[in-house]
C-alpha cells in the first residue's frame, strides 16, 4: 500500500472578490467604465467612418463642379489645377475621358473619371413612358454597327413566323438565342436586318450585358416571353420604319395587314406584316410578359396580355390591345437612363458637349500637391 504524497493545495478564496463593499464597488466601476469606453469607441468609430464618407462626397461634388466648368474642346492633355471651395482639384484630359483628382481639406484624396460626351441623349429615355415621340437613330453609327447576321446570339429562322402567325412574314426573321446571348464590352449597337423574335417559353430569356446595348430592329419585334438582364448593362430595343414596310395598328391581331387595320404612316405598302411595330406577347400565346429592357417603338405597340417594362418606353404612335381588357402596360421605370449625362448607344445626341457621369477611380493617384523640390533654372 502506497501512501499518497502530500502536496500543498492551492485554493483561491472566491469570496474575496465579493467579500468587501469596497471590492464590489470597484468591480461595478470597472464594468461601467468598460461599457462606457466601448460605447465611446463605437461612437467615434462611426463618426470617423461618416467623416470619411463625407470627405468622399465633398470631393465628388467638387469634381462635378470642376468637370462641368472645363471646356470639352481642350484636348491638350495638360493638367489644370483649380480650387472648388477649399478642395484642390486637378482636371486632366486623357483620351476621350476626363480624369478629376480631388484633395479635400480634411485629408485624403479621391479620383474620378468621366467620358466627354458630344451632347445629351433624348430626354424620353430618362422617363418611364412617352407617347407620340419618334427618336432618331444615328445613321452613321448604324452603318458601322454589328449585324445580327454575324453574331452568335442571333440565328436566322425561316420557320418561326409560320409557327406563330397564320401567314408568316415576308421579311427575314431572326431569333435572339438564349444559349449564346452574351454581349461583351465591344458590342453596344446591333442592327437586325429583318424581324426579331424572342421565342415563347416558361422561363425568362436571360441576357448577359457588360455594357449598355441598343438593338435596332428594321422590321417588327415579337416578344414571346419575359426577358431578364444580368450584368451591368442596360438594353434598349428600337424598331425602325424603313422604305420596305409600313407600321399599322393590327386591330384583329393576326400579324398582317388586313381589313379593319389602321395604317400609321401613309398608305400601306410593302411587307404584309408591316414594320416598326412591336408585339409584347404573341397572338397565339397571350402570356404575361415582363422585360428588363427599354422599348423604343417607331410604329404601334401591340399588347397580347399584361406586360411590364423596366426601361424607358417611347412610342411613336399608340398601343393596340389584341389580348382583351387584361392587356395593360406597366412602365416600372426601374432601368432608366440619365440622358443629360449618359449617351445611349445609337441615338442622335443633341445640345452642347458635356462630361458624363463621374466614376470613382480608386487606382488613380492625384497629381495635386506634387511640387518640384527645386525650381527649374536655366543652365549656365
Amino acid at each position: 500500500m502506497r501512501v499518497a504524497p502530500l502536496r500543498p493545495r492551492v485554493r483561491f478564496p472566491w469570496r474575496w472578490l465579493v467579500d468587501s463593499p469596497l471590492v464590489l464597488v470597484t468591480w461595478v466601476v470597472v464594468l461601467l467604465a468598460a461599457s462606457t469606453a466601448r460605447e465611446v469607441d463605437q461612437a467615434l468609430g462611426g463618426a470617423d467612418d461618416v467623416r470619411r464618407r463625407a470627405s468622399f462626397w465633398m470631393a465628388k461634388v467638387a469634381a462635378e463642379t470642376a468637370a462641368m466648368g472645363v471646356s470639352l474642346d481642350d484636348h491638350a492633355g495638360a493638367p489644370r489645377c483649380m480650387t472648388v471651395g477649399d478642395v484642390a482639384v486637378t482636371v486632366q484630359a486623357v483620351g476621350r475621358e476626363l480624369r478629376v483628382s480631388c484633395v479635400p481639406p480634411g485629408g485624403g484624396s479621391w479620383s474620378f473619371d468621366c467620358a466627354r460626351l458630344p451632347g445629351a441623349s433624348p430626354a424620353a429615355l430618362g422617363v418611364p413612358a412617352t407617347t407620340g415621340v419618334s427618336l432618331a437613330i444615328d445613321p452613321e453609327r448604324l452603318a458601322g454597327a454589328f449585324s445580327a447576321a454575324e453574331l452568335p446570339a442571333f440565328r436566322r429562322d425561316a420557320g418561326i413566323a409560320l409557327l406563330h402567325l397564320d401567314t408568316g412574314t415576308d421579311r427575314d426573321d431572326f431569333v435572339l438565342d438564349g444559349q449564346h446571348a452574351r454581349f461583351g464590352i465591344a458590342t453596344d449597337l446591333v442592327a437586325v436586318p429583318g424581324h426579331l423574335w424572342i421565342e415563347p417559353g416558361d422561363e425568362p430569356l436571360r441576357l448577359w450585358l457588360e455594357r449598355d446595348l441598343t438593338i435596332v430592329v428594321h422590321g417588327n419585334l415579337y416578344v414571346g416571353r419575359s426577358l431578364a438582364i444580368e450584368g451591368t448593362g442596360r438594353l434598349v430595343f428600337a424598331t425602325m420604319i424603313d422604305a420596305t414596310s409600313r407600321p399599322f395598328a393590327d386591330r384583329d391581331g393576326n400579324g398582317r395587314w388586313s381589313a379593319g387595320d389602321e395604317t400609321r404612316a401613309g398608305p400601306f405598302e410593302g411587307a404584309c406584316e408591316g414594320g416598326g411595330n412591336a408585339y409584347l406577347g404573341l397572338p397565339r400565346r397571350r402570356a404575361a410578359i415582363s422585360i428588363a429592357s427599354g422599348l423604343v417603338v417607331a410604329g404601334e405597340l401591340h399588347l397580347a396580355g399584361p406586360a411590364s417594362v423596366d426601361g424607358p418606353v417611347v412610342l411613336g404612335h399608340a398601343i393596340t390591345k389584341i389580348g382583351g381588357p387584361g392587356a395593360e402596360l406597366v412602365a416600372t421605370g426601374a432601368r432608366l437612363f440619365r440622358p443629360e449625362r449618359e449617351l445611349v448607344p445609337g441615338f442622335v445626341p443633341h445640345g452642347p458637349g458635356r462630361p458624363g457621369l463621374l466614376r470613382h477611380a480608386p487606382g488613380n493617384r492625384p497629381v495635386v500637391g506634387e511640387q518640384p523640390l527645386y525650381l527649374a533654372a536655366p543652365g549656365r
Binding site: 462606457t36 460605447e39 461612437a43 461618416v50 464618407r53 465633398m58 481639406p105 449625362r341
Partner: protein
Amino acid sequence: MSAWLQHEAGNVVERTHAREQQIERLASLMAAPPPVAGGVLADFDGLFAGHRVAWQQTATGPVLVLRVRPDEVPR
C-alpha cells in the same frame, strides 16, 4: 463621469446618424437631380465643415456645387 461620457457618446451617435441621412440624400440628389433647381440646400448645413452645397443651373441641367460658407473666417 461615466454618465457624462455616455451622454456625449449618444450625442456623437445622434449627429453621426443625421450626417448619414444627409449623405444618403446627397447621393440620391446626385443620382437623379430634379429638372430645375436653385438656391442653397439647407439640408446639408454642417455636413461639410466650412462649406455649403448649392444648386447651379447650367446648360446641361442643374448641378450641385460646393461653396465656402460666407460666414466662415478666411484662412
